[in-house]
Point group: C2
Chain length 374, copies 2
């Protein structure tokens, strides 16, 4: 603790200006970090501010600059390394322009997301980047409200149907379509998909699965469509037994995949659309006494450092996490500065990192088995 | 976008109160979420606020309640799953009391940490939880300032030497001491330690390593001491060649561990103190054509879902991440509410999760080799 008591009231800009021997406008520009100030004046103001323990006031700043130099970020799950990577990009880009990014995590629930947006507006952020849990415009009143009140919003990672806001997203559909085609080219035609949409009872048709997926966030739906398009393009009939309908956890995925592996015609390859789906699939393969890629091929979404030290290393789809975050921050700051183009969507591509977790399917010996029919 | 233009000025509490037909104090209590309000009055106020598009004002709230119901969290690296887990605990506990937690990430630099604290004070947070990059009191002026200005600070994950602030930490020393003893009991006496403190030139003595570690954050220093204490207790002389001095990245760890594995007396076990140190060690083992636990045993810090699907699964130390976050939030809110005990430190224990990445060292055949001397 400091040895002398410190007054609780923060000094005013005028007091800092007086001690620094500069005009109030110069002090305000320096302390508010806007406009032009000579290096000498800036140094004097900063020294005076330090000496007086000046603490900038949100509202005072807003009244002079109209800005707090702060943006709010709402993510679904701060514990997900994907959002960790995105945040690094946002933070780095913000720093360049003297902005700070504050984050709230919503646990993928719309209710918490609305509360988070309300908190950030109360904090008078200059704009918002949101990875929204909203699926359609009906869920997104809070984002339209923010925009209407002059707080620009950039969507990140997910689009919302019927909402015209700038967005920075990844081409999830192409990523999964290409990964599925890769497996098809290797000779697989029993390709499992984890995670599919959560289902209360087993789906029996593609219509069932698509109807469920309409309640999913954009990125999940796009991944499913990529899978279906690739199957369709190859003339492979869709088998609902190969799409998980379980809760989106490691444990439930392990159970669902284990069940698939005991089907009369089990999958010879598994596409996993999230880190936890891959971990669950790996558990299931081990618990079933199988090994990859010998018995079943694997491709996952969201590359990470573990994938390359698995034995064998995993073939993964990598998202441009940092670049996604940087671009969303850049778009938002351009809108705040009034230099942005009209709302548009920026679509980024993923990278396919081929390692050694896939192989052609083994030909099964038993007559009547799927592989022998080809 | 809504079809009619919305006025930019937010209505006042008085306007909301008038429309709701309640007194201003009742409207303020409802909108500020404090004190007692009848359900009927609350419903009328909320309806009026919705109709008028009321947006609570930071400062207005602060003036009536003295609080913004917001706490600031400063973490070293939001992309680290450890902090992801801690944030989940903080957020969950905050929600119970109607608080929001906003996060800033500092990339483990003191400069960014100071900027982050300044931003959060400008945002008028009611208190701070900080995983600080400060090592001694000389680095921690910004935290003492905050406290002096009435913004309570709870340290999380790391202590700062010479600073008396409440803290919630994990017993890193005991965790590593126990893990080292586990390896000693299995018969290892060439136990490598990754990460040791970053060194510009190779350390030649325990004094060298300890001097370097004095510039490290608290948790890293504690882990090193746990290792040294266990060796000391078993009468094993310290070998500086078995402590990495590389930069704290996956790539540099892989190089450092690979070099150790070519020593005349290579380590038979490796203790890794961070996720990325484990990934680097695994790369080195594979690149050296070795396998674990046959050629080298492995124990890591910070358990995660991948550890259990590695083949063989990894023996790991698990930190109580969520509980750590919950407890830090609980302490801070108690201080804000004025119901806290005087500053104290809460020390939490880790869990040792034994899996299958360790085994007794192989006896080496060549005469003069270390193992044959015992």
């Amino acid at each position: 603790m400091p040895s002398e008591p410190v007054p609780r009231r923060s000094p005013t800009v005028a007091e800092v200006a007086a001690l620094a021997g500069v005009g109030k406008a110069t002090a305000a520009r320096t302390l508010g970090n806007y406009g032009s100030v000579s290096p000498a004046a800036r140094a004097r103001v900063m020294a005076a501010a330090e000496k007086l323990r000046y603490r900038p006031n949100n509202l005072a700043r807003s009244m002079t600059t109209g800005r707090t130099q702060t943006i709010g970020v709402v993510v679904a799950d701060i514990g997900n390394p994907f959002f960790g990577g995105v945040m690094r990009g946002i933070t780095d880009r913000c720093e360049e322009d003297g902005y700070a990014a504050i984050v709230l995590s919503t646990d993928e629930t719309l209710e918490e997301e609305k509360a988070a947006v309300s908190v950030l507006m109360r904090q008078k952020v200059d704009g918002l980047i949101v990875a929204s849990a909203a699926v359609t415009a009906a869920d997104a009143g809070h984002l339209q409200d923010a925009t209407a009140r002059g707080i620009p919003v950039v969507l990140m990672d997910r689009l919302i149907e019927g909402i015209d806001l700038p967005a920075v997203i990844v081409d999830n559909r192409e990523a999964i379509r290409n990964a599925t085609r890769f497996l098809l080219r290797e000779g697989h035609d029993r390709i499992a998909f984890a995670w599919g949409p959560v289902a209360e009872k087993p789906s029996t048709s593609v219509e069932d699965v698509l109807a469920l997926s309409e309640r999913d966030i954009w990125s999940a739906t796009e991944r499913l469509h990529g899978y279906l398009e690739a199957l369709d393009g190859a003339g492979i009939p869709f088998d609902p037994a190969l799409v998980t309908g379980c809760e989106l956890t490691v444990e439930d995925t392990a159970i669902a995949v284990r069940d698939m592996l005991t089907l009369p015609e089990p999958p010879t390859a598994i596409l996993t659309t999230e880190t936890n789906a891959m971990v669950g699939a790996l558990q299931a393969i081990r618990q079933s006494g199988l090994s990859y890629p010998r018995d079943v091929s694997l491709i996952g979404f969201d590359d990470n450092s573990w994938s390359s030290v698995m034995d064998p290393p995993l073939t993964m789809i990598a998202q441009p996490m940092t670049h996604l975050g940087e671009t969303a921050a850049e778009q938002l700051m351009a809108i705040i500065a009034g230099t942005a183009e009209p709302a548009h969507t920026e679509l980024m591509r993923t990278e396919f990192r081929e390692r050694r977790s896939t192989a052609p399917p083994r030909t099964r010996g038993a007559p009547g088995q799927y592989a022998s029919r080809r």
